[in-house]
């Protein structure tokens, strides 16, 4: 590889990328996991009535349910359940 200005710049950019990855990569997982747990909680609150947990705001969680349907599906798949765990509510 010839030592040209372009090569040096490319090498430098690669170093910057590696350094930035070195800085961030180990921590992404931690934060992503925390976010996912927070989101799961929110999603379960929306579907709480269906889980048998009485909720004063059922009327309002109802209108949020269609939006959260996808997340519910992702959640049960992630939790290792092939299908929705709720007998009354089958999403797939």
């Amino acid at each position: 590889m010839r030592i040209t200005w372009a090569n040096i710049k490319r090498w430098f950019r690669r170093l910057a990328y590696l350094a930035s990855e070195a800085y961030n990569a180990p921590y992404r997982g931690m934060v992503a996991r925390a976010k996912r747990e927070q989101d799961d909680l929110f999603m379960l609150l929306i579907f709480s009535e269906m889980m048998g947990i009485p909720n004063p705001a059922t009327y309002y969680t109802l209108e949020l349910q269609p939006i959260m349907l996808e997340k519910f599906h992702e959640w049960h798949k992630r939790a290792g359940m092939e299908h929705s765990p709720l007998d009354d509510f089958r999403c797939c």
Partner: protein, 557 residues
């Protein structure tokens, strides 16, 4: 003999190990497939499972495992002469650690990224899995305690390291804030941070800090121990971007600079090795080389701890299966280099055999980071235009920060484990973060003072026990890998031999220490040792039964 000889031989052998032996293992034994879809791809969720550049992974693996242990262990072990330590470090790195770290990643990758602990349950037995968890908890406790003792001894021995080490926290915080809050791209904070760090080392020289000899009935070292645990508690509760993340980064940079300076200085200064090749006049009370050498040096030759890191996060981020060789084997090779340079530092960094013998007048004790610093700084100042005082501060700060990071992570991990027990055994109090942290730190403090007495000086007695437990873990991991190989009808001798060797040595070491600790009156450590022995017996029994079971199954089908 000039130090360049072992340095060169060691480096060449490790290189050969990577290019020849690891290639052999990769192709013939583990049979890595570049087209195999790793869990990072097949189970990708960008949370735990996400493919990562192999250089970055290697860097992370290397900086996680290359801590203070490859410094402390060899520093102590040279008391038997530098050659035994050298052989164990080089041989262990090539044939044991390489295969272990490498294999742990491979085993995990081939099993949906599951950790070795969880695989032990499948491959061996559920009982073995519980064993694994218990061993890990004890290991963490011992790591925290022994590192706290090491750091405080280093602070006492090198007062110029106090200010720079603590300032490093401020430097890290500054970097963290610059990058996260002010969104400055990485380059400038890095440069600024590094300059700040090394500048403060000059300050440290000018303003050495010594704690009062006695304060509230405690000597200087015990005071440091308490301060360190207080720090670890607070640090484990701060947001990651503020302290942990930038500090890991600085440590990585320091490691590269430190290794470069040391090896460079060795080749320039060409120091003479004064330590005996094989010490025939070991001081009174030194345990026998066999088996204790093999548990005194764990990291740098073979360490079970790495298997946790390897199968914990690394395997879930591996892009191609063939990267496992680069990340795992080369990762432990890097650590071997650090151990090698430590051996050289403590063998050649002293003016004469007499001086060396004064330092190595007893086994353990205050030998550790400070010995590395003393010897290393001599070589560095001989070879490079740096004052010995500055070199000493630099090396001390490096080792101290490595150990401190491990302590933070250790306390954090212990807190998680305690919280998990709270969930499994339904004890709400344990699930609270503060209580769990308090318990974790309390256990470590109890161990640090219980082992060392009120003056904390005897804390290094924990070291061989730590090594023993560490090797037991390595043995379990190698067992899992071996059983997997049996199932796949491949040659398992390359993992089985290390496994048998290390388990036997740990067991013998544990038995010896039992007698030794009993005589010395360290009853707390003795109890711990008994626990370790029981664990060791279980491991041996479980291993034998699992292994023969699998062999029969493989032969039958």
């Amino acid at each position: 003999m000039t130090a360049i000889v072992p340095a060169l031989i060691g480096m060449v052998l490790i290189a050969v190990g990577y290019f020849v032996y690891s290639k052999f293992i990769a192709e013939k034994i583990y049979q890595l497939d570049p087209n195999f879809e790793t869990p990072a791809h097949s189970m990708r969720d960008d949370v735990d499972f996400t493919p990562t550049n192999r250089v970055v992974l290697w860097g992370h693996h290397f900086t996680s495992v290359a801590g203070a242990a490859p410094i402390i262990g060899p520093a102590i072990a040279v008391i038997w002469g530098w050659l035994p330590a050298f052989i164990w470090v080089i041989g262990g790195t090539i044939f044991f650690a390489g295969v272990h770290d490498f294999g742990a990643i491979w085993a995990s990758v081939r099993n949906q990224g599951r950790s070795i602990g969880s695989l032990t349950g499948d491959v061996v037995s559920l009982r073995a899995r519980t064993l694994f968890m218990i061993v890990i908890f004890f290991l963490l406790m011992m790591v925290n305690a022994v590192f706290a003792v090491s750091i405080s001894n280093a602070f006492v021995a090198t007062p110029s390291s106090v200010i720079p080490s603590w300032s490093a926290i401020a430097v890290a915080v500054v970097i963290g804030v610059l990058i996260y809050k002010m969104k400055v791209p990485l380059l400038w904070p890095t440069v600024v941070g590094v300059i700040m760090l090394y500048s403060v080392m000059y300050l440290g020289e000018l303003f050495p800090v010594e704690l009062p000899q006695t304060f509230m009935g405690l000597g200087a070292a015990p005071q440091w121990i308490i301060i360190l645990f207080a720090y670890a508690t607070i640090a484990s509760m701060l947001p990651v971007w503020l302290l942990l993340q930038p500090r890991d980064y600085i440590n990585g940079i320091q490691l590269i600079i430190g290794l470069g300076l040391l090896f460079g200085a060795v080749f320039i200064a060409n120091p003479t090795i004064v330590a005996p090749m094989y010490n025939t006049v070991v001081p009174e009370g030194t345990p026998p080389l066999l088996p204790l050498l093999f548990v005194t040096i764990a990291c740098g030759a073979l360490s079970g701890f790495h298997g946790l890191v390897a199968s914990g996060t690394t395997s879930k981020q591996l892009n191609k299966e063939t990267d496992a060789r680069f990340v795992g084997y080369l990762g432990s090779s890097g650590e071997g280099l650090l151990a090698l340079v430590t051996i050289i530092a403590v063998s050649a960094g002293f003016a004469s055999l007499g001086e060396w013998q004064t330092v190595y007048a007893q086994f353990g004790g205050t030998i550790g980071i400070s010995t590395f610093v003393a010897g290393g700084s001599q070589i560095v100042s001989d070879g490079l235009p740096l004052s010995q005082a500055f070199a000493a501060t630099l090396l001390a700060v490096m080792a101290i920060l490595f150990a401190a990071t491990t302590m933070d992570t250790g306390v954090r991990l212990q807190r998680f484990i305690i919280q998990e027990w709270g969930t499994i055994y339904k004890i709400p109090a344990l699930q609270n973060g503060y209580i769990a942290t308090f318990l974790a730190v309390g256990a470590c403090l109890a161990l640090a003072f219980g082992a060392g007495g009120a003056d904390g000086q005897g804390g290094m007695l924990i070291w061989p026990l730590f090594g023993t437990t560490n090797q037991l873990l390595a043995g379990l991991t190698l067992l899992v890998i071996s059983v997997m190989l049996v199932k796949l009808r491949r040659r398992y001798i390359f993992t089985l031999v290390p496994m048998v060797f290390v388990t036997t040595m740990s067991f013998l070491a544990a038995i010896y220490q039992l007698w030794d600790l009993f005589n010395g009156g360290s009853y707390m450590l003795m109890t711990l040792d008994v626990v370790v022995i029981i664990l060791a017996i279980f491991v041996i029994l479980e291993s034998t039964s699992a292994f023969s079971r699998e062999k029969k199954a493989a032969a039958a089908s």
